[in-house]
């Protein structure tokens, strides 16, 4: 028996009541509950049915976050490793190496420090811009939150600078190695962010404009 528009609205309100705020999360739970309710052969009240599904709804968002978070972190690590063994991606570490070489040979020490900070700050600024544009994306879509979590690991290089400063000042080799890996992580992070953003816009374009 097909579910009516009013019943769909009832499920939607129930999910809102349980704190399921984001549209991309709500639409899947709603469809699952509606499909299961439609296929039940017994005559059952929708409210009673929804009460039996409360643990599933409550756990759904947590499980979603856990699965997605680790999935994206795994993808980021895979991408970073890919830079060093995939022939078509080897040009990225090579380009970073050339950039660092250019900095060492051509720039004075004061400009090297500025160049270092710019190379770490710019990717962070870009990912914030990607996250907040368009507005609907972070307001309605839970998946967009992972744009921020993907860049959490690369941003560590910026935050660790305070601790690393004494070591880095003493040894230029450590400094350039630190800079190299910071750039590798940031570029890989940005690539993952762009892929995720493209996917979100393609999949949820109807929801973003809501």
């Amino acid at each position: 028996m097909a579910i009516s528009k009013e019943e769909v609205l009832y499920i939607d309100n129930y999910l809102k009541f349980l704190g399921i705020k984001y549209l991309d999360v709500r639409l899947e739970i709603l469809d699952h509950l509606a499909s299961e309710f439609e296929s039940t052969e017994k005559q059952i009240n929708l409210g009673d049915f929804l009460r039996t599904k409360r643990p599933f709804v409550k756990n759904y968002e947590n499980q979603w976050q856990k699965a997605k978070h680790w999935g994206h972190q795994k993808a980021l690590i895979k991408r970073i490793l890919g830079y060093f063994y995939k022939p078509n991606q080897l040009f990225i570490p090579i380009c970073i190496g050339i950039f660092l070489g250019f900095n060492t040979t051509l720039l004075p020490k004061s400009l090297i420090a500025i160049s270092f900070f710019i190379s770490l700050i710019v990717p962070q600024c870009i990912h914030f811009y990607v996250y907040y544009k368009p507005v609907g994306i972070y307001k309605n879509i839970q998946s967009a939150k992972y744009i921020l979590s993907i860049m959490a690991l690369p941003s560590i290089f910026m935050y660790l600078m305070g601790i690393m400063a004494p070591i880095v000042k003493e040894s230029p080799t450590v400094f350039y190695a630190y800079w190299f890996f910071a750039m590798v992580f940031n570029i890989a992070g940005l690539q993952e962010v762009m892929i995720l953003k493209r996917q979100i816009v393609k999949t949820y374009n109807k929801l973003i404009s809501n």
Binding site: A2, I3, S4, K5, V8, L27, E28, L30, D31, H32, A34, S35, E36, S39, P55, F56, N59, Y60, Q63, W64, K66, A67, K68, W70, G71, H72, K74, A75, Y146, Q199, T203, Y204, K206, L207
Partner: protein
């Protein structure tokens, strides 16, 4: 007479409970065995059907295994989301009846991964059969 009747009722009740317990254990045991293969099962379903939504996957698996394997929503969705985040599944949202539905389908990478995982599973089954019952093993 009354005593015997009560005794008979008690035995009957115990038998029913016993059968229920055995069934429960059988299903639980199977679930544990199936759990490690859940991702492969999902990938295989999607390879065969093209695109599917969550509830459809649970029903299809139930139908194919004649009710032996019941994938709960609590196990299915985390697996689907993990596969999606790993880039093995692509998502499509479509309007069906009076609501939106999320369909999952394999990406190019997902298609390659399905072939690998099925081969791994086949090897595992072959090894298990050789261990458990060498006479029945697949040649």
């Amino acid at each position: 007479m009354k005593k015997e009747y009560i005794k008979h009722l008690c035995i009957r009740k115990l038998c029913i409970l016993g059968v229920r317990k055995l069934n429960y254990l059988r299903i639980m045991g199977n679930s544990k065995l199936f759990k490690g293969s859940l991702n492969t099962i999902i990938l295989k379903m999607l390879e065969e059907e093209g695109k599917m939504y969550g509830y459809e996957i649970t029903q299809k698996v139930k139908e194919l295994t004649k009710g032996e394997l019941n994938i709960t929503e609590g196990a299915l969705y985390p697996a689907l989301h993990k596969l999606e985040a790993e880039g093995l599944l692509d998502v499509e949202v479509a309007k069906v009846d009076n609501r939106l539905r999320k369909y999952y389908k394999l990406t190019e990478q997902g298609e390659k991964e399905t072939v690998n995982r099925l081969a791994e599973l086949e090897d595992f089954i072959r090894s298990m059969q050789q261990l458990v019952n060498p006479d029945w093993s697949i040649q």
